[in-house]
C-alpha cells in the first residue's frame, strides 16, 4: 500500500515549529505561550464580567450586596449571639475585612477547581494554553475583590469619621499587593490541583465546597488569632491563609499579630502549591479529554 512507511525512514534535516509528542516533561510549563495568549485571558475576564450580571436588575451591585449580607449575618450571629471577641475593633469592620479577604481566596479556589470540567466542551474543540482559564479567573476575581475592598475602605472611613480609634499601618498597606498575590497563588495552586484530579474523580467536586468552608473556620475570619487558646493555635497557624488575613487586618485596621516567620511560611507554602499545581495541570491538560 502507498501509505506504508518506506524503511529505512529517511530523516531530512528540517526545522520544525511544533512537535506533537505523547507526553511533555513535567517541567515543560510553556509559560511563554501563556503570555502570547494574554489577549485571550483579558477577553475571558471581560466575558465573565459582561455575562455574569446580564439580565439581572441590580447588575454589578451584586458585587457589593454579597459581602455586605455575609458581614451583617456574621456580625449578628458571631458577634452579637456568640459574642466572639474582635480584637477591640467594631464588629462590622472586623467581619467585613475577614469576609472580603477570605472570599477572594475561596472564589479563586472554587472557580479554578472547575476549570477542566466546566470547559470540557471548549477544550475538546480547540487548543490554547489551558492555564489561560484559571489565570483569567484570578484576574476577574481580583477586580471583584478591588470593588469589595473599596466598599470596606469606605465603611472604615465612615467609622473613623464617627470617632472610632483605628490606626492603619502604612508600611503594611504598601505591602498588601504582595498579600493579594499570595492569596491568588494559593487559590490557583489548590484550584488547579483539584481541577486536575476532578477530570477523573468527580467526587472531589463535592468535597471542595465543603473543604473550603471548613478551612474558613480554621482561619481568623470570624475570630482573631489572639482569641484562640494557645494549645490550639498551631492548627490555625498551619493554615497558610491565617498570616495573610492577620496581616491584612494589621495593615488596614492596626490590630492583629503578624510574624515574619509565618508570612514566610505562607509564601513558601504558596510557591510549593503553585508549582505542584502547574506541573500536575500541565500533565493533565494533554490527556484530560480522554478521561473527562
Amino acid at each position: 500500500m502507498l501509505s506504508k512507511p518506506h524503511l529505512p525512514f529517511t530523516e531530512q534535516d528540517e526545522s520544525w515549529d511544533l512537535i506533537i509528542e505523547p507526553q511533555r516533561s513535567w517541567l515543560d510549563l510553556r509559560l511563554g505561550e501563556v503570555w502570547r495568549y494574554k489577549d485571550l485571558i483579558l477577553l475571558f475576564v471581560q466575558r465573565d464580567f459582561v455575562s455574569l450580571y446580564k439580565q439581572t436588575v441590580l447588575g454589578p451591585l451584586w458585587y457589593l450586596i454579597q459581602p455586605l449580607l455575609t458581614t451583617i449575618i456574621f456580625t449578628f450571629i458571631f458577634g452579637n449571639i456568640a459574642s466572639l471577641p474582635t480584637d477591640g475593633l467594631p464588629k462590622f469592620l472586623f467581619y467585613m475585612s475577614g469576609t472580603v479577604v477570605w472570599s477572594y481566596f475561596a472564589d479563586c479556589l472554587n472557580k479554578t477547581s472547575q476549570t477542566f470540567v466546566n470547559n470540557a466542551n471548549l477544550f475538546g474543540k480547540v487548543y490554547f494554553p489551558r492555564l489561560a482559564v484559571p489565570l483569567s479567573i484570578l484576574i476577574s476575581n481580583m477586580i471583584t475583590f478591588a470593588i469589595q475592598f473599596g466598599m470596606f475602605l469606605i465603611f472604615e472611613l465612615y467609622f473613623i469619621a464617627q470617632g472610632t480609634e483605628i490606626h492603619p499601618n502604612w508600611p503594611w498597606i504598601l505591602f498588601s499587593p504582595v498579600l493579594i498575590l499570595m492569596m491568588a497563588g494559593l487559590g490557583l495552586g489548590f484550584g488547579i490541583i483539584i481541577s486536575s484530579l476532578t477530570t477523573k474523580y468527580r467526587d472531589l467536586r463535592f468535597l471542595v465546597t465543603f473543604g473550603v468552608q471548613l478551612l474558613m473556620y480554621a482561619a481568623p475570619v470570624i475570630y482573631p488569632v489572639s482569641s484562640v487558646p494557645a494549645k490550639f493555635q498551631w492548627i490555625i497557624l498551619a493554615n497558610p491563609m491565617t498570616s495573610i488575613i492577620e496581616a491584612f487586618r494589621y495593615a488596614f485596621l492596626g490590630v492583629g499579630t503578624v510574624y515574619m516567620g509565618q508570612l514566610l511560611y505562607s509564601f513558601t507554602f504558596m510557591l510549593l502549591v503553585m508549582f505542584a499545581g502547574m506541573m500536575i495541570f500541565n500533565r493533565v491538560e494533554q490527556i484530560f479529554m480522554d478521561t473527562v
Binding site: 511544533l18 512537535i19 506533537i20 477577553l43 471548549l122 474523580y201 467526587d203 478521561t291
Partner: protein, 430 residues
C-alpha cells in the same frame, strides 16, 4: 515541495474501563474485579473489530505514518469510528498521542466546530474578538480583519446584538467567518460544512478553496464526497485506525465508495455487461464476474496467501463459433497492474464459445502474494491472434486483510508482494 506535516508512527489508545468511568467508586470496582481475577465489569463487549482491542486497550489510531506537503489539500475519509476525529484531535492538540509524533512546520489552526466558545450573552462583536482569540489571533489581528469578517458573515445589522438572539444560520455564519479569516499556514477542518444552508455551504467551500490557492495547507474531514472531491488534491482513507489508502483524491474516493458499496449491497458476482469499455471490439464480452473462496462461497475478503476463484461468464454476441483466451489482472486502487494471468499460460487451446451463447469459466488463483490492502480485478477476452476482444477494468474490488492464516497480523513491510524465501546458514565463502 516542502513537507509541512510529518506524522510518524502515530498511535492513540484508550484504556477500556477508563472511558466512562468518572468516579472513584467505578475505579474501585474495576480494581476489585481485577484483584479477584474477574473480567473488567466496565469493559465494552461485542466489539466487532477485534484487532483494535488488546489487553483492555482500544487503538483508535495505530501506527499512522504519512507526510503532507505545503499547499496540499488533503481529504480524510472513512467510516464512523475509523479514527478521523482522533487524528484531528491530535493534530489540533486537544489530546496527546499515545506514541509516535507529529512534526509541524508553520502555524496550525483547527476548526473542529464553528463558533467555539461563543457566549450567548455577548454581542456578535464581543464574540468575534473572543472567538478570534480562542483560535489564536491577538486583538490587533481581529481589529484589522473585523470589517471583512462582518461582511463575510452577513450579520452587519446585528453585530451589536447578543448572539443568543441570532438564528442558527447567523450564528454559524459568524462563527465560520471568524475562523475563515485566520491566517494559519495549516488549517485543519472537521465536518463544519454540514451546517448552514446550501448557499452558505457554497460560500464556505469557496473560501476554503481560496485558502488552498494561497498556498496554504488544508486537512479536511468530511463525509461529503462531493466537497472532498472538489476541494482536495489528495486523500487518506482511514479504516480501523489505520491508513487504508493514501493516494490522489479520486482514487481514494472511488475505492472508498466501492468498498462502501460492497459492504452494504452484495454486488459479487457483478453484472458487467453494461459497463463501458475503453478497449476491445466487443464481439465476445465478459458479462458477469464473481470472486469465490476455495469453498466456492462468494467472498471479497481474503487472508494473505489464500487461494481464490474467479468465476467469469463470457457471451458470444455473433452467430459464429469462436475460440478465445480469457485473462484477468490484479491492480492497486490507482490502477497499477500488479500481475496478469492468461488462459494460454497453462493450456495451448483456449475455450470455444458457440454462437449466441455463454460459457462460464472458473480460474483458480493460487496463494495471493500481495500484501494486505484493497485490490481491483480486471478481466478481458483475447482472440486467437491475441487481439483484444474485451477489456473490462476494475470490475470488482477485494480486500486482503492483515489477519494471516496462522492468526497473527501482518507486519508493515515495504513493497507490494511477499517474496517467498527460505533461509539457511551455510558453510561457504562468497
Amino acid at each position: 515541495m516542502t513537507t509541512v506535516i510529518s506524522v510518524e508512527n502515530l498511535s492513540k489508545s484508550y484504556r477500556l474501563g477508563q472511558i466512562g468511568s468518572g468516579t472513584f467508586a467505578h475505579d474501585l470496582n474495576v480494581w476489585w474485579a481485577k484483584v479477584r481475577g474477574r473480567p473488567n465489569p466496565l469493559q465494552r463487549i461485542g466489539a466487532a473489530d477485534h484487532h483494535r482491542y488488546d489487553d483492555g486497550e482500544f487503538w483508535a489510531l495505530k501506527d499512522l505514518t504519512f507526510k503532507v506537503n505545503q499547499g496540499e489539500v488533503l481529504g480524510i475519509i472513512g467510516r464512523n469510528g475509523a479514527g478521523k476525529s482522533t487524528l484531528l484531535k491530535i493534530l489540533s492538540r486537544v489530546t496527546a498521542p499515545t506514541s509516535g509524533k507529529v512534526k509541524v512546520k508553520g502555524r496550525i489552526a483547527s476548526l473542529l466546530e464553528v463558533g467555539t466558545g461563543f457566549h450567548p450573552d455577548l454581542t456578535g462583536r464581543e464574540n468575534t474578538y473572543l472567538n478570534g482569540a480562542i483560535l489564536g489571533m491577538n486583538r490587533k489581528e481581529v481589529d484589522r480583519k473585523f470589517d471583512e469578517i462582518v461582511y463575510f458573515s452577513e450579520v452587519e445589522k446585528f453585530i451589536d446584538t447578543p448572539v443568543k438572539r441570532y438564528s442558527s444560520g447567523m450564528y454559524v455564519r459568524l462563527g465560520f467567518a471568524v475562523a475563515a479569516h485566520l491566517e494559519p499556514e495549516i488549517l485543519v477542518v472537521d465536518e463544519v460544512l454540514a451546517v448552514g444552508d446550501v448557499e452558505f455551504q457554497k460560500k464556505c467551500l469557496g473560501k476554503m478553496g481560496d485558502v488552498a490557492k494561497e498556498g496554504r495547507t488544508v486537512l479536511f474531514v468530511s463525509h461529503n464526497m462531493g466537497a472532498i472531491a472538489s476541494l482536495c488534491s489528495k486523500g487518506i482513507w482511514l479504516e480501523g485506525g489505520r491508513i487504508k489508502i493514501y493516494s490522489k483524491i479520486q482514487e481514494t474516493i472511488s475505492s472508498y465508495l466501492d468498498i462502501a458499496d460492497t459492504r452494504n449491497a452484495v454486488n459479487n458476482p457483478v453484472d458487467v455487461s453494461d459497463v463501458t469499455r475503453k478497449r476491445g471490439s466487443g464481439e465476445i464480452r465478459v458479462t458477469k464476474v464473481g470472486l469465490l473462496n476455495i469453498n466456492e462461497k462468494w467472498e471479497q475478503h481474503f487472508s494473505m496467501e489464500d487461494d481464490f476463484l474467479i468465476r467469469i461468464e463470457i457471451e458470444n454476441f455473433l452467430n459464429i463459433m469462436r475460440e478465445v483466451n480469457c485473462w484477468f489482472s490484479i491492480a492497486t486502487p490507482d490502477g497499477t497492474v500488479l500481475g496478469t494471468g492468461i488462459q494460454y499460460d497453462n493450456s495451448k487451446r483456449g475455450v470455444s464459445v458457440k454462437g449466441l451463447s455463454t460459457v462460464i469459466l472458473d480460474v483458480t488463483c493460487k496463494e495471493i502474494p500481495f500484501v494486505p490492502g484493497v485490490y481491483f480485478l480486471n478481466v478481458g477476452v483475447l482472440g486467437k491472434q491475441k487481439e483484444i476482444l474485451d477489456w473490462c477494468e476494475m470490475v470488482l474490488s477485494f480486500e486482503i486483510t492483515d489477519l494471516l492464516k496462522n492468526g497473527s497480523y501482518f507486519d508493515n513491510r515495504v513493497g507490494k508482494m511477499i517474496l517467498r524465501s527460505t533461509w539457511h546458514v551455510v558453510d561457504k565463502k562468497i
